[in-house]
């Protein structure tokens, strides 16, 4: 491993892709080289310092776009073909929203991604964007037979459920923590196929 003097002084705002630094040394002291042991200690100390994310601190809109990318990346890398389809749909919705001068609620994105990463075995739903900018998913099984979840970005997700009960349609509206939506809905009789 190369222990360059400039190592701990690399710009921390972004990764370094240039080559110029490889032939340039930042001067600490004109004629007194830092002893190797001290240099190693300096590098170790620099490594212990938690990196600061300037991007998040400065750019208020950074989190929205970054959350979309992170969600897409996590879904894409989850080794689940359904999740790749969901990732494609999410980026498509993002671009459609921009074209309409709208945006997806960043908190909704995080909740949405967490849900599908947690439940890899449920079917691919229809995914839409509500006028409020939150993501809504629906599993449609026929007239009067569906379940919809709206990821409002709050601790509780909103659920709408319709189930056939003989000649009638039972309707349910409830809110549940995201991790309880599936067990509660299944207990009522919902299918996520």
């Amino acid at each position: 491993m190369e222990a360059r003097m400039s190592y701990q002084l690399e710009p921390i705002t972004s990764a370094n892709t240039s080559l110029s630094d490889s032939y340039f040394t930042v001067t600490y002291s004109r004629d007194v080289p830092i002893p190797e042991a001290q240099l190693v200690e300096l590098i170790q100390r620099a490594k212990r310092i938690a990196p600061i994310s300037f991007d998040n601190a400065i750019d208020p809109d950074y989190s929205s776009k970054q959350k979309i990318f992170d969600a897409v990346k996590d879904l894409y890398l989850s080794n689940n073909s359904r999740n790749r389809q969901i990732a494609d749909r999410l980026i498509s919705l993002h671009r459609d929203a921009l074209a309409e001068d709208e945006h997806i609620d960043p908190n909704s994105i995080s909740q949405f991604a967490e849900f599908f990463l947690s439940y890899g075995h449920i079917g691919l739903p229809k995914i839409t964007l509500t006028p409020d900018g939150t993501l809504r998913v629906r599993w449609l099984h026929g007239p009067g037979n569906f379940i919809a979840i709206e990821f409002a970005g709050k601790p509780l997700a909103k659920v709408v459920l319709e189930l056939p009960r003989g000649d009638e349609t039972a309707q349910y509206f409830f809110s549940e923590p995201i991790e309880k939506v599936i067990p509660v809905a299944r207990a009522i009789g919902a299918s996520f196929a």
Binding site: F24, V26, T27, N79
Partner: protein, 272 residues
């Protein structure tokens, strides 16, 4: 002069003897999980005529991306970053699982900088080749784009305005405060300062100033002014990235002109 006129003049500013030493255009995209070393061999075959040298490097890894450089299923060794270059020209292509980059480097002092238009044209030409290769041979795509970067590394050598470290303020007036701390008991011996400026929601500019000396035998004392624009296209698409780079180039140019001294621009770098 109106603001619009001022911007257009700024955009056109060029130098006969610019201090630019390296330009990097980089795009970071969704990781291509299917990409393997054998694919890189096929890619090199396509560009071998122009880029006959291939080297492996550690990937450029951000804190959030470390997982994508661990072994993928079916991979014995993690995919490194690859350099493709030639001794016949100053361009360098860099490829890694989630990025494509092109560098122009001043390999010899007597080489003229071809200017941004040439470098970005080369970038997009090579990008199209790589994009088609990824689509045809790997069955993947470079969309979605997470981050774009345009970096200028300027090397400021000694000149009539800059003969001691402290005189760097004559070239970069805004760092005068550091220079003025020099007195009989201490001399400015080095500097490493980074400032970050927000241009708009999609574009930030890092400005890094360093004072030091070359690592080669000359040990020449120099200053580095690195200006890096970074951000992401609004819709995270490669198509929109073209517009992003145009805005980034304008921001880098404007930053350079406002951060460096007007006399040095005219007399040393020969602004035209």
């Amino acid at each position: 002069m109106t603001e619009t006129q001022d911007l257009s003049v700024t955009k056109r500013a060029k130098f006969l003897n610019p201090p630019v030493n390296e330009v990097v255009i980089a795009v970071y995209h969704l990781p291509i999980t299917e990409l393997r070393t054998q694919h890189i061999g096929l890619y090199w075959q396509q560009i071998h005529g122009k880029y006959p040298i291939c080297e492996q490097q550690s990937p450029v890894v951000s804190e959030d991306d470390s997982s994508i450089f661990k072994n993928m299923p079916g991979e014995v060794f993690p995919l490194p970053r690859f350099w493709f270059s030639s001794s016949a020209h100053p361009m360098l292509i860099q490829v890694q699982r989630n990025a494509f980059m092109l560098n122009w480097r001043r390999l010899q002092n007597n080489v003229d900088y071809p200017h941004y238009e040439t470098v970005q044209k080369e970038f997009w030409n090579e990008m199209e080749i790589y994009k088609a290769f990824i689509q045809d041979c790997v069955g993947a795509k470079l969309d979605v784009v997470n981050r774009c970067e345009l970096t200028y590394i300027n090397v400021i050598t000694r000149n009539e305005f800059f003969s001691t470290h402290a005189e760097i303020k004559n070239v970069l007036p805004s760092i005068e405060g550091f220079c003025n701390l020099e007195n009989d008991a201490r001399h400015l011996a080095g500097l490493n300062a980074t400032a970050v400026y927000r241009v708009n929601d999609n574009l930030l500019v890092d400005m890094v100033t360093k004072l030091g000396r070359r690592k080669d035998a000359t040990k020449e004392e120099i200053a580095i002014l690195e200006i890096k624009a970074h951000g992401s296209p609004v819709d995270l698409s490669l198509g929109e990235a073209r517009n992003w780079y145009e805005a980034a180039h304008e921001a880098v140019n404007e930053t350079f002109l406002t951060f460096t001294d007007d006399r040095v621009q005219k007399e040393v770098w020969k602004r035209v």
